[in-house]
Amino acid sequence: MLIYTLSFPEQVVLILAALILLSSFIMLAQVRVDSMINTFALQGLLLCFATTLMALISGKYHLLISAALTLFLKVFFIPGQLRLLIIRLNIHREVEVLGNSSLIMLFAAGLVLFSYYVALPIRALSLLSTRNTIAISLAVVLIGMLIVISRRKAVTQVVGFMSMENGLFFAAVVSTYGMPMVVELGVAFDVLVAAILFGVFFFHIRTEIGSLDTDRLNRLTEVEK
């Protein structure tokens, strides 16, 4: 699909897709916990815009509900909760140093390429004009996973996990105009519960092992060293 054959709102959706991918990269590179949460909120906002636009393009107005849910949950509620958490845990000024950030970034760029390769056959199944973005959303999912892997702190791992969910949601919106409402509501609810559960978990982890560094969980191993 050549880009200049698309209508203007569709072009905007593509731009938003690219920006969502960029926000994933920023999250990956971000060393400060609070900035990372802000970036996550920004990604949610972009996602909300994209969903609204898709709703207006397609005339499927139930997507507007999804957009509103996204706005509420991913832009305000969860980031707000996380912010509260890190302030209460007193880690909002902490800096988390990545191993070799340039290499990780290059690896993430490779992931984008890989997901493009993987998405080629899937793309052929979709008829929407915005189907090119499937690869992007898959890349967002994979980069989310990479964030979880490359981080040590539980909070940032959770943010990575949430951004994976963003990628899934975006894929659903752009390739099939969203999942059925029930599924979507269920997922949103799951995320909400997960956010609260994680919040509870953080405190437990900290009281158990005295740190939020999940690498320390190693000491829970039953294997005798």
């Binding site: 880009i3 200049y4 203007f8 731009i15 690219a18």
Partner: protein, 314 residues
């Protein structure tokens, strides 16, 4: 024939007006920081004063040190001459495409760094070492961004790229957004501005460009300073005309030329303003954060290229 005369005049005009850009940025920056600031045409006074002063040469200087300013300056002038500034009907654009343009700037940098190594003081070597490090990290990002920009027009000839962008219907290219962000980051690094280098300091821990030209004086220093101003304005013009190409004339008709000059003036004034603001709100980075900064530029350019392939082509 008339286009060649136009190309010559454009180059000469650009060379003589470029210091104004540097002066404007400096003046605005001072105003933003609540300082009086030198008048925007202060660079002309400096250049004139320097060119009248006697050259004092270190006794350890070799001929390389003496010819380097001439090479740096004339290579930058040639680089300027191939960039369409007012109108795309520029015969010199066929002399050198955008890759050759990057090559010119690299040649200038090569001699600049050699000059830094020549006297045998610690400062010069330090400046050269840092300069080549930063530029070698910037180069892949720069070329990647330029490749992406040129892919839409499937040409690396600057005139044709700009003409293509102006004449084709307005499209929001995701790739353009990314590669222009990458390009701007690289341009800031290559022209030695905050947060990579500080053009206003002579503190050994922070300087790069100034360290290399520390031993220069008189007309040699004037040429080096002038070349640096040319480079700053050249990158600004590239940003202005590649990313926001509207206004560049398609022909040499008087109307097109007037619109072209007005638009490029507005764009440069705005860009200078942005530069001044960004330099005011930011601090200089540590040297070893520069790789991360340039890595970001590279990632942005890479994303631009990928989004061109994934989102735009088919």
């Amino acid at each position: 024939m008339i286009d060649w005369i136009f190309a010559f005049l454009q180059t000469v005009g650009f060379v003589f007006l470029a210091p104004l850009m540097a002066g404007w940025v400096k003046w605005l920056k001072c105003r933003l920081q609540n300082r009086q600031g030198p008048v925007p045409w202060q660079p002309y006074r400096d250049l004139l004063r320097l060119s009248r002063k006697q050259v004092v040469l270190a006794d350890t200087a070799s001929p390389v040190f003496r010819i380097a300013p001439y090479i740096v300056f004339s290579v930058t002038v040639v680089a300027v001459s191939v960039v369409p500034i007012i109108s795309v009907q520029l015969p010199t654009a066929a002399l050198a495409d955008v890759i050759v343009l990057v090559g010119f700037l690299a040649l200038a940098r090569f001699f600049l760094s050699l000059a830094g190594m020549d006297i045998g003081t610690a400062f010069g070597g330090m400046g050269s070492s840092r300069e080549v490090t930063i530029s070698s990290l910037a180069e892949p990002a720069l070329l990647m961004a330029l490749f992406t920009l040129s892919m839409n027009a499937s040409s690396t000839n600057l005139s044709i790229v700009i003409a293509h962008l102006v004449q084709s219907p307005f499209v929001l290219y995701p790739s353009l957004i990314f590669s222009s962000m990458g390009f701007i980051l690289v341009a800031i690094a290559e022209t030695g501005r905050i947060p990579i280098d500080n053009p206003a300091t002579h503190l050994e821990l922070t300087m790069i460009h100034e360290a290399m030209i520390l031993e220069y004086s008189g007309r040699h220093l004037a040429m080096m300073e002038w070349a640096a101003m040319l480079k700053l304005t050249l990158y600004s013009v590239l940003i202005a005309n590649l990313i926001v190409p509207w206004g560049v004339g398609m022909t040499l008709a008087p109307r097109a030329l007037i619109i072209g000059s007005l638009s490029i003036t507005c764009k440069l004034v705005l860009l200078g303003g942005f530069l001044a603001v960004s330099e005011t709100v930011q601090a200089k980075m540590r040297l070893f954060r520069a790789p991360q900064y340039l890595g970001l530029a590279f990632i942005l350019s890479l994303l631009g290229m990928m989004s061109h392939i994934i989102l735009e082509v088919r």
